[in-house]
Symmetry: C2
Amino acid sequence: MTIGQRPRWRYIYDDLRTAIERDELPPGSRVPAEMSLAEQYGYARNTVRTALNALQADGLITAGAGSLGRTVRRRYQIFFDAADFERGVYHDNPARAQDQWKADVERQGWTPRQIIRVDWLPAPRDVAEWLDVPPGELLARRRRVRLVSRPPSDPEMPLMLADTWTPEDIARRVLTDDQGQEYCPLLEERDVVVRGGIIRAIGINQVEFEDMIVPRMPSPDEVELLDLQPGSPVGQHARIGIDDTGRRVRALVSTWAGDRQVLRYRLPVPSPEE
Amino acid sequence: MTIGQRPRWRYIYDDLRTAIERDELPPGSRVPAEMSLAEQYGYARNTVRTALNALQADGLITAGAGSLGRTVRRRYQIFFDAADFERGVYHDNPARAQDQWKADVERQGWTPRQIIRVDWLPAPRDVAEWLDVPPGELLARRRRVRLVSRPPSDPEMPLMLADTWTPEDIARRVLTDDQGQEYCPLLEERDVVVRGGIIRAIGINQVEFEDMIVPRMPSPDEVELLDLQPGSPVGQHARIGIDDTGRRVRALVSTWAGDRQVLRYRLPVPSPEE
DNA sequence: ACGGATTTGTGCGTATGTATA
DNA sequence: CTATACATACGCACAAATCCG
């Protein structure tokens, strides 16, 4: 059935792809309906669907039944800084009492919100390796689902999952609040803002971060939580905190939607060693 | 036709997905053939294909006609360091005359190779923005396709594309080699190794890097060059070099295959500002 | 609140092409 | 060369979501 070199669906795929890249189909615009493409090219609807599914898997178009139809995917460029030596900013900058991520996002004109939940879970393979504990050991996972909206009460858009994994002895460390009440900041299901950051406040002296970054496709859970379209890859940023004894004390695993957020590092260039 | 909540194909998808996650179907193992799954579940072959295509789009399985069949995707964890303050290592560390990436990869037991090609191209929108030049301005792009193999002459596996984009005045700067010959290192289609790095050698004093990292799906070109399976997202790491006058002198855009390589930063934790 | 129009989603059957061991 | 298994392609029917009168 295939006549030329390329399969039929590939013609539609290529045509639409170049139209999108040339901005003839700008972000947000409607993609022609399946039946209309089928008539236009003289192909069956299923053939058209193969092409559109490929574009969807490439993250270029969205899909939805009914009058939603298919549209060219929009992209956002919200930055989040993992290191900013210029401004002296770190996620865990000891000099700031404010949540670093919230401050960053607000500066860019978005209204942030976090939903926090703590669970005790057996260590997944990768986390166990990062923290140098046996796989399956029970760890505390403090998950923050981070959402933003534009001021005028638009619907919220989920941006990232930020999971802090800690071994039990660290998770159970306590602080004392204004009323003299003791609490475990790493087990609190609410925003905890401590001057210098939680880790430092509970008496841990981190001296090094090891950050590992990898793109991957999301799990069904993440698709749900981040409201992802099929074909949206996520970035996974794992920050391992190492204390002054060399112990790997915690892993902060952030998973962000690639079409919404950009991870940024600002680094000084080392001067030449003479 | 849909009986329960979930569509039929979703049962197959979920079953296979959990089998893979539980390592009952380990990486490299064969996925049952479409017809065998169709009989097992009592569904049509097309329905089975919907499930398998979704797993493919999620990057979990590969596909290939004939006796290749479908297999569970293998993953590699080759590190490449964007910053390593502990070891004093940078991509452009002025103290080292060796190619940083090659050294890193060799230390991990792989044999590296680069294919280098230089083209003059109009600046794509994002590169233009990073370098603060008008979009469409002609820039030099020095592309390095980076491949590795395991020692015993296995087939090579492409790992990443590393594109250096520079404005013309910088690209045309010259160095003098041992024989007294002048050449433009940023336009050479061969490995150029200079003590201190090319940028420094041609008289540019970079004082800051701005790194931006985003996951995305690859373009058809990248699929070709990196030999990517459908459903493999890539990471894009753009490093903008800023010199002591504040000028954005070059962009190093690295695109890496997510199932093969991990980007790593090792950073010192800043001490508290008292 | 309801119904119709539109558009995508699910699912089946069938046939033939193509790549690989 | 042949068997296997995926790839392409068609046609058809009905379900489900959404928007608009």
